[in-house]
């Protein structure tokens, strides 16, 4: 039963998976409640631009992904708060724009190879010890920030204007949230892939919302769903030689369907 843990790479994969599931579901709760679900997809594609620059120019792709994703998150938040543009339209524009830029950079640099491919779909089974350290350190920081401001972020998600008139620094915290989300996404795409991280961020919360419970319980259910999906997904992926990121996403979707059916009004 536990032969899966006899392999070092599987131990690392599980550890990375559990950290990322925690980060994705906690940050995802705020993103979903703010109707920002598309944000995760857009930032994941922006992070790809960073990866492309890193691969072509010989910088560390992970750091470049973090930088570009954060810049993209700030651009989105600035456009949203300063111009009367539809949020989903801004996200859509940046999503396709980022992907286009990433593809052009990679083809010009002649680096359109397996390396970029692994960032698109993730390669949880090739997580290195160094990856674990980076994910743990930045993950802990991001989680601490989210938890420190959780009641403010919840209030903003409930009603931005009422939060503002209650003295909450709405603009600053919105920038903080998108920055943390950008960092989490950039850290995660190496492991789950830019095409799949959005699912791990959004679907656990949407599933948890079906149970119609208060904020804290919703967050905890969402966390449990994300962890279960990662653990099931990776176990299935190990025994049936399936791609890990995609298997995790299928697991989370199955849990979503069960949640939906179980709570049908």
């Amino acid at each position: 039963m536990f032969e899966i843990f006899e392999y070092d790479f599987m131990q690392r994969a599980f550890l990375a998976g559990i950290i990322i599931a925690t980060l994705a579901s906690v940050s995802g709760t705020f993103i979903v409640l703010k109707r920002y679900s598309m944000m995760s997809e857009t930032l994941a594609h922006s992070a790809l631009v960073g990866v492309a620059v890193g691969l072509v120019a010989g910088f560390n792709p992970l750091w470049m992904a973090v930088i570009v994703a954060v810049l993209s998150a700030w651009t989105i938040e600035y456009l949203r708060s300063s111009f009367s543009l539809y949020s989903d339209a801004i996200l859509s524009i940046l999503l396709s724009g980022s992907l286009a830029v990433a593809i052009i950079i990679v083809s010009l640099g002649g680096a359109f190879n397996n390396s970029l491919f692994s960032y698109l779909f993730g390669s949880i089974l090739s997580v290195s010890g160094e990856d674990i350290v980076v994910i743990s350190v930045f993950g802990a920081l991001s989680l601490a920030l989210l938890l420190a401001f959780s009641k403010e972020l919840y209030f903003i998600a409930y009603d931005e204007e009422v939060a503002k008139t209650s003295g909450v620094k709405v603009r600053l915290l919105n920038f903080l949230l998108v920055t943390v989300v950008a960092v989490i996404i950039a850290l995660s795409i190496r492991v789950v892939g830019s095409l799949l991280i959005g699912a791990l961020m959004v679907i656990p919360t949407v599933s948890a919302l079906q149970y119609r419970v208060g904020f804290l319980k919703t967050g905890l259910i969402s966390l449990a769903i994300a962890l279960l999906s990662v653990i099931f997904g990776m176990t299935l992926s190990f025994y049936f030689s399936l791609p890990s990121g995609a298997t995790i996403v299928i697991c989370v979707i199955v849990i979503f369907i069960i949640s939906l059916a179980a709570n049908k009004r």
């Binding site: 003295g167 919302l209 208060g214």
Partner: protein, 256 residues
């Protein structure tokens, strides 16, 4: 006998607001002192909501000055003194994961530190607010499952949890039935009389609350301040001040 502060809660001087060149408010001036009960009436599009948004710093006036407790809005920090209930209050998204307690806890936001839960003082204030608004028995219910009238009371409990000195309500009656509205109005009057909370209230039901209010602001681009609303409601000048809507108010009065 309520004490009057020397410094008014709101001091509005010559405030104008325009959007895309279109004038919404022009040269509005008034002061609001402690423990007053003020109703704001006026035709749709007359600038009532804009005025409240200006007072709360959600919009920036194009001319004039607004002071809150003597301070410019950008320098004002004591937001717990202000309780705001917007128009859409009772129209909360039914899927939003919030119990009544979750919502009322939000009212304590300015008192709580990072990572910290609710202190004993916070818990007492939340419970007190829920009791005043008669929603304590609903505290574990999801807000999305409540009736319009119950939601309205929860939103006011949230505003009360910070122990505000002024409550600002922007027509929070959408989706609320007539019976709930009546008990809501008597609650507001009680808060004003017994707790000395200043109330600034946009409403269309002026006939119903005429006996409670102390001042009436009529907003239609310009503001007309009336310190004796009963007299105003009874006189023909109302039509001149309020335009065609004046007749609606009189009809309301007969209805109830």
């Amino acid at each position: 006998m309520p004490l009057k502060f020397k410094v008014p809660i709101f001091d509005v001087k010559g405030v104008s607001f325009a959007i895309n060149g279109q004038k919404i408010l022009s040269g509005v001036s008034f002061e609001i002192f402690n423990a007053q009960y003020i109703a704001i009436i006026g035709p749709n599009g007359g600038g009532k909501t804009t005025l409240i948004r200006l007072l709360l710093g959600l919009e920036k006036q194009t001319a004039g000055e607004i002071r809150l407790y003597g301070k410019k809005i950008k320098d004002f920090r004591e937001w717990e003194k202000i309780g705001y209930v917007p128009q859409r209050a009772s129209l909360i998204d039914e899927n939003f994961p919030a119990t009544v307690q979750d919502i009322v806890n939000m009212g304590r936001i300015s008192k709580r530190g990072l990572f910290s839960g609710l202190s004993v003082e916070d818990k007492n204030a939340v419970e007190d607010a829920m009791m005043k608004m008669d929603v304590l028995n609903l505290k574990n219910k999801m807000v999305g499952t409540l009736s319009g009238g119950q939601r309205q009371r929860v939103m006011i409990a949230r505003a009360l949890a910070s122990k505000p000195e002024i409550l600002i309500l922007d027509e929070p009656n959408t989706g609320v039935d007539m019976v709930s509205q009546k008990s809501f109005y008597s609650l507001l009057a009680k808060l004003n009389k017994e707790e000395n909370i200043t109330i600034l209230f946009i409403t269309h039901d002026i006939g119903v609350i005429a006996d409670d209010i102390g001042r009436l602001f009529t907003i239609n681009q310009k503001a007309t301040i009336c310190n004796n609303p009963k007299e105003l409601l009874g006189c023909d000048d109302m039509t001149a001040l309020y335009g065609i809507e004046a007749h609606l108010i009189h009809n309301h009065k007969h209805e109830h």
